[in-house]
């Protein structure tokens, strides 16, 4: 029983990480119809900035507990700087073009950002293990798990609920939903679509950076970490349905838990599981679990 619980817990931890990434990606796609490949770079930037800020914090002799604030600051900083920079500086000139063109443009941005990261931080990995080991461990049966994993789950749940609340319970969120349903009609009714785009891209970027910042303490932050992430979060978003926040949450849970069971009971199939889940869902629902029906425009 404890074994099963441990496997489930590992799955939920992985799902939380996946969700933070996928939420931003699906939000941006839902509103802007852009499959943002540069999302992976924003994740990497979040991780590098977190490692740098928290490292500087520790070097200055401050209490290690403050590193958590540095992780949050890194996510906000990267989102607030890179979101507007990419959206205003690059993407706004491309609206109206084919989705494939936009995808290629974000891919170009991804490549540029990867080299920028290399230019700023070099190729050596950055380490920031204090926030990971600081809160200690807890036990599930005989197995020790870091309390940090609970923090990751809590942040993912709170972030998901906050984004859902902002989308469905606030005026700005409802304006955003209106843009998702019909951009032209929203613009005709006086909604400032440009501002909605800017806000969405900035929030999406912050979510990517938050994912990176929270992962930084557990990994060696090194060149190329954004590549893997974009592939995985894309798979999750496709499973959930492009543009659906609830879909991203369910997709992340499905992928995370199935993967965790595979690692434990059928390790040979682990690499295959994510794509297996994706294939099964797409066979049953070609547009993902929660894709909204699209009205035919004449």
């Amino acid at each position: 029983m404890n074994d099963l619980l441990a496997v489930l817990f590992d799955g939920v931890v992985y799902s939380s990480w996946l969700f933070l990434m996928a939420a931003g990606l699906t939000l941006i796609y839902g509103v802007m119809r852009i499959l943002n490949i540069a999302h992976g770079s924003l994740y990497a930037l979040g991780a590098y900035t977190a490692a740098t800020l928290a490292g500087a914090w520790l070097e200055a002799g401050h209490a290690a507990v403050g590193t958590y604030a540095m992780l949050a600051a890194a996510a906000l900083l990267v989102g607030a700087v890179m979101g507007p920079l990419l959206e205003r500086g690059l993407l706004q000139w491309m609206y109206g073009k084919d989705e494939v063109v936009l995808l290629l443009i974000t891919y170009a941005a991804f490549l540029i950002l990867e080299d920028t990261i290399k230019l700023i931080w070099g190729v050596e990995s950055k380490l920031l293990s204090e926030p990971y080991s600081l809160p200690g461990n807890f036990q599930i049966g005989e197995l020790a798990f870091p309390v940090y994993n609970l923090i990751l789950i809590a942040v993912a749940v709170v972030t998901g609920l906050a984004v859902a609340w902002a989308l469905y319970r606030t005026r700005q969120g409802k304006l955003l939903l209106a843009v998702i349903h019909d951009r032209e009609m929203s613009a005709a009714l006086g909604i400032n679509v440009d501002r909605v785009y800017l806000a969405t891209f900035t929030v999406g970027s912050m979510l990517a950076a938050l994912g990176g910042a929270l992962t930084a303490p557990a990994i060696a932050v090194s060149p190329g970490i954004g590549v893997e992430v974009i592939v995985l979060s894309f798979a999750v978003v496709v499973v959930g349905g492009l543009g659906s926040l609830g879909g991203a949450a369910l997709g992340a849970l499905m992928v995370g838990i199935v993967r965790s069971f595979a690692v434990r009971y059928w390790p040979e199939a682990e690499l295959f599981t994510i794509y297996f889940v994706m294939a099964m869902v797409l066979i049953a629902r070609p547009k993902g679990l929660f894709s909204a029906p699209e009205a035919r425009k004449i």
Binding site: G122, S125, L143, A218, I219, S222, P223
Partner: protein
């Protein structure tokens, strides 16, 4: 007009002075190593640093004996460095371009790249020295005239590791593995498992985790390894994956409750220091880094590297240096045979079956019809002393004990119980 003539004459004179200072045209050597991507920080750049340091010192004629001759036999050498990132297909195309610009090629860290470029180097008739990749398949599945490898193959890493584990823990009954799911990780696990079973037939494999390369997060895998209760955990992880496994595994007791053996763990010593728990068994893919013999030549190399780059050399730096020294030794042996400017064929003839002094000890080109190097190997164990990590209980294994005989395939040799 007279002024223009004077300037022209001065320019011409200075150009001639520079040319005569070098004496001859430089020998151009193409260097292929990771300059971007996840392997750049882990191996690529430390290797490039090794190449650059040695080329500079050789050109200045400041290398200790037996390499005191300037450059290659008096000729300056010039490095043309390109990035290994991009995968085997890209590397094949890059090699075709590079081969037209250089006299020799030294390179390749990835086993996939080595397997792809070796036949192309042969087709192009370009003397190519592989310096780091580990797969034994290069010379066990094919035969090359123009390709050499001055780094030992990966088989000896895991053979020595298994010997060490069992010498120190003869009662081991179960093992598990966590390796990256590509040629390097798969071959490493196959060799380690086979070596353990050959040495102790009743050993049981509890689980073999094959993770995606650069996955970075191993929560579920660590849970599985902890639950497996295997006594020994083997890993050939490198780079960010290796550091991630240590950072995530140590707080959860992975290194406390199990004997963890890291076949390529040496680069993590400098990176993580005392974060690596006591008693972790570590290899360096040869007698490199803290496992290098305490010779004057090795001391000189370590000091020169540390002085220039402010970090100690890791095994990739050692292997890069050995490749350059091996090529120099072959070139100068060909010169000593009577060819003032030896051609590729003459250098190849001199290179085959050559034994030369490398940093880390003697390098013998004794396998693969004289094209594949063997070296001694050494394995040790970590111990935190104050604020520094030390390697203790170092055991050396002679090259012929941990490498197959000429003509034998590594896997079959290990499974046969290391029969010579």
């Amino acid at each position: 007009m007279t002024r223009i003539f004077r300037v022209f004459a001065l320019t011409l004179l200075s150009a001639l002075t520079v040319t005569s200072a070098f004496g001859q045209q430089p020998i151009k050597i193409g260097i292929v190593t990771f300059l971007s991507g996840a392997a750049a920080g882990a191996f690529g750049v430390p290797a490039r640093n090794g190449f650059e340091l040695i080329a500079e010192v050789l050109n200045a004629g400041k290398m200790p004996a037996p390499y005191a001759n300037k450059g290659f036999g008096g000729n300056p050498i010039e490095l043309v460095i390109i990035d290994e990132a991009g995968g085997p297909q890209k590397q094949v195309a890059e090699l075709r371009n590079l081969a037209q610009r250089v006299d020799y090629v030294i390179g390749y860290i990835s086993s996939g790249d080595c397997l792809a470029v070796a036949p192309v180097a042969e087709e192009l008739k370009k003397l190519t020295v592989l310096f780091d990749c580990g797969t034994p398949r290069i010379f066990e599945d094919a035969s090359y005239k123009y390709v050499f490898r001055t780094g030992p193959s990966g088989s000896m890493d895991n053979t020595a590791l298994a010997l060490y584990v069992l010498e120190r823990n003869p009662k081991v009954k179960s093992i598990a593995g966590i390796n990256q799911n590509y040629a390097w990780g798969q071959d490493s696990w196959v060799d380690f498992e086979a070596a353990m079973k050959a040495l102790k037939p009743d050993v049981e494999v509890k689980t073999s985790q094959m993770t995606k390369l650069f996955a970075g997060q191993f929560g579920a895998e660590i849970s599985t390894l902890l639950s497996s209760k295997a006594q020994v955990i083997h890993s050939s992880f490198w780079g960010g994956d290796l550091e991630g496994l240590i950072l995530q595994g140590a707080p959860r007791g992975l290194f406390k409750n199990h004997i963890v053996a890291l076949s390529a763990g040496e680069p993590a010593i400098n990176r993580l220091g005392t974060k690596i728990p006591d008693g972790t068994i570590i290899g360096a893919r040869g007698p490199f880094g803290p496992f290098a013999p305490d010779t004057e030549f090795n001391k000189w190399f370590k000091n020169a590297f540390q002085e220039r780059y402010a970090v100690p050399p890791i095994y990739a730096s050692y292997k890069a240096t050995n490749a350059l020294l091996g090529l120099k030794a072959a070139y100068e042996k060909a010169q000593a045979g009577g060819a003032a400017s030896p051609n590729a064929e003459q250098v190849i003839a001199a290179f085959e079956n050559l034994t030369f002094e490398g940093v880390g000890g003697a390098v013998k080109m004794s396998l693969g019809k004289g094209h594949q190097a063997v070296m001694d190997n050494a394995i040790g164990m970590t111990k935190n002393v104050g604020t520094s990590l030390q390697i203790i209980n170092v055991k050396r294994y002679p090259a012929d004990k941990v490498n197959p005989p000429e003509g034998a395939k590594s896997e079959a040799w290990i499974k046969s119980g290391f029969k010579k």
